[in-house]
């Protein structure tokens, strides 16, 4: 059986000889990352080879942690955000007195994941920031809106962040004709069943506005759009928007899912299945 991370007791963070031996014996993988972070900080540049070996191991470990969490559907397959966060983590490691620098010695993985979550949330928020109010659009030309793969055009950036006025739809799905809106009338339990059969997450990835994603996920958990009951929360209260906005956001995402070819196929009678 192979050695697991944390199986071995690491040398003290200031024990240069101990770390030299551990590196020579290829034992870094068996130590907790917190111990490596502490050694990296405490040994500093006393031995360049040791420092570089620790840096290499920490760098690869950070990449591994990040890769597990970053979707390949992100720009440049997620590599940009991964490298950005890896850089932030190393900057923090090089500042032992900073909050992150101290935290990495205590809880390496959780801190790295937190930095990633913060970076993803910041990216989401940046994309969700209101720019200018949209001008009233002319009705779409015939055939427009159904030629491309659905989802890629959803753009929460144009949604006024704090406005209840949602008269302007923000995704292509809104331009669907009633016939194409194949899931809009399905009850949520049927939708759930259907979503089990398609890669919903891949589709949700294209919803760049985090508020809409969250609204849809809460809706799938049967959280009400609005409630007057005391001590009961609603999608509207979670997102601090009106009931109408909450409903429109969920509808947008449902329609986007409805546009997906996989869902359309599910709606068609299948060969060998009794109707």
């Amino acid at each position: 059986m192979g050695t697991k991370v944390g199986d071995e007791t690491p040398p003290k963070s200031t024990d240069l000889a101990g770390w030299r031996e551990a590196i020579a014996a290829g034992r870094l993988k068996s130590f907790r990352l917190e111990a490596l972070a502490a050694a990296f900080q405490d040994l500093g540049h006393r031995d360049t080879q040791v420092r570089n070996a620790l840096a290499k191991h920490l760098s690869d470990s950070v990449l591994g942690l990040l890769r597990r969490r970053v979707s390949f559907s992100k720009p440049n397959q997620g590599q940009d955000i991964i490298l950005r966060v890896q850089g932030e983590v190393f900057s923090a490691l090089l500042q032992p007195q900073s909050a992150d620098g101290r935290a990495l010695r205590k809880a390496f993985g959780p801190r790295v994941e937190f930095r990633l979550k913060d970076a993803l949330a910041a990216e989401d928020r940046e994309r969700g920031m209101p720019t200018a109010r949209k001008e009233k659009k002319a009705p779409p030309a015939e055939g427009e809106g159904d030629a491309e793969e659905p989802g890629i055009d959803i753009d929460g950036a144009r949604e006024p962040a704090d406005s209840d006025d949602v008269s302007e739809p923000t995704c292509r799905a809104d331009r669907l004709s009633p016939q194409e809106d194949v899931v809009d009338d399905l009850p949520s339990d049927e939708m759930e069943k259907m979503f089990d059969e398609i890669n919903v997450e891949q589709i949700l990835d294209s919803v760049t506005d985090y508020r809409k994603r969250l609204a849809f996920r809460l809706y799938m958990e049967d959280v009400p759009f609005k409630t007057t009951k005391e001590n009961t929360v609603s999608i509207a209260s979670v997102l601090d928007v009106s009931e109408k906005t909450a409903r429109d956001w969920v509808t947008e995402v449902r329609q986007l899912l409805g546009q997906h070819q996989g869902v359309k196929r599910l709606q068609q009678p299948r060969v060998g299945v009794r109707s």
């Binding site: 090089l94 928020r125 985090y210 996920r217």
Partner: protein, 206 residues
């Protein structure tokens, strides 16, 4: 809500939120946004990412692309190098005694010192502000060591400090302040307050 949240610092609040819930419920999101209204939108954005993560199983460790690994390592080494350079520069600056400190220590002003050794005040100002490129004329250097009560080594160290961090002066309305460093000879020749004789003297042409 846990008691360990007592600081309203954004990172602390968000990290505590991250640690507390793998997939925060609607109630928990509302509870936290009510408690920290200043971070409400951050909390919602973090909650949305938490839900994304919870919905996508992470599975086993992912294979990391070799090219990405090499780029990341190279980035790490660059950061290490930059940190070392910056730390070395700060150490030097911390031990460096500036010209301004030397002048103040002998209870003088630059113009008084200039008058004392009979050199243009602009020459000394340029030297002390880090606008004079070495080498410094030997005669000027020798003339300053005594009145500044300093040594050649300390003078050179102050010169390095000044050159590393030159005084920037005031920014113009339409551009950032710029530093134009000139040679010692150029500065002496261009000083309008000195006679030609004095210039020749400081240029060691007599």
């Amino acid at each position: 809500m846990t008691n360990r949240i007592n600081a309203a610092d954004r990172d602390e609040v968000l990290f505590a939120f991250h640690q507390a819930y793998e997939r925060p419920t609607a109630e928990q999101i509302v509870e936290w946004t009510n408690r920290y209204p200043q971070f409400a939108e951050d909390i919602r954005a973090h909650a949305a990412v938490a839900w994304d993560w919870a919905a996508r199983p992470t599975g086993a460790d992912q294979e990391v692309d070799e090219i990405v690994s090499a780029r990341a390592y190279s980035q790490a080494l660059n950061l290490i190098y930059n940190a070392e350079m910056s730390s070395a520069a700060s150490e030097k600056e911390a031990t460096c005694r500036t010209f301004q400190q030397m002048v103040a220590a002998v209870g003088k002003e630059t113009y008084l010192l200039a008058r004392e050794i009979d050199v243009g005040r602009g020459v000394l100002a340029d030297l002390f502000n880090g606008w004079m490129r070495p080498p410094i004329r030997q005669r000027l250097l020798d003339a300053l060591l005594g009145p500044l009560r300093t040594t050649r080594e300390e003078f050179n160290s102050a010169l390095e400090c000044a050159l590393r961090q030159p005084y920037l002066g005031h920014a113009k309305a339409d551009q950032a302040p710029v530093v134009i460093q000139r040679s010692c000879d150029e500065i002496i020749r261009g000083d309008s307050s000195m006679s030609q004789d004095r210039k020749r003297y400081w240029l060691e042409e007599d």
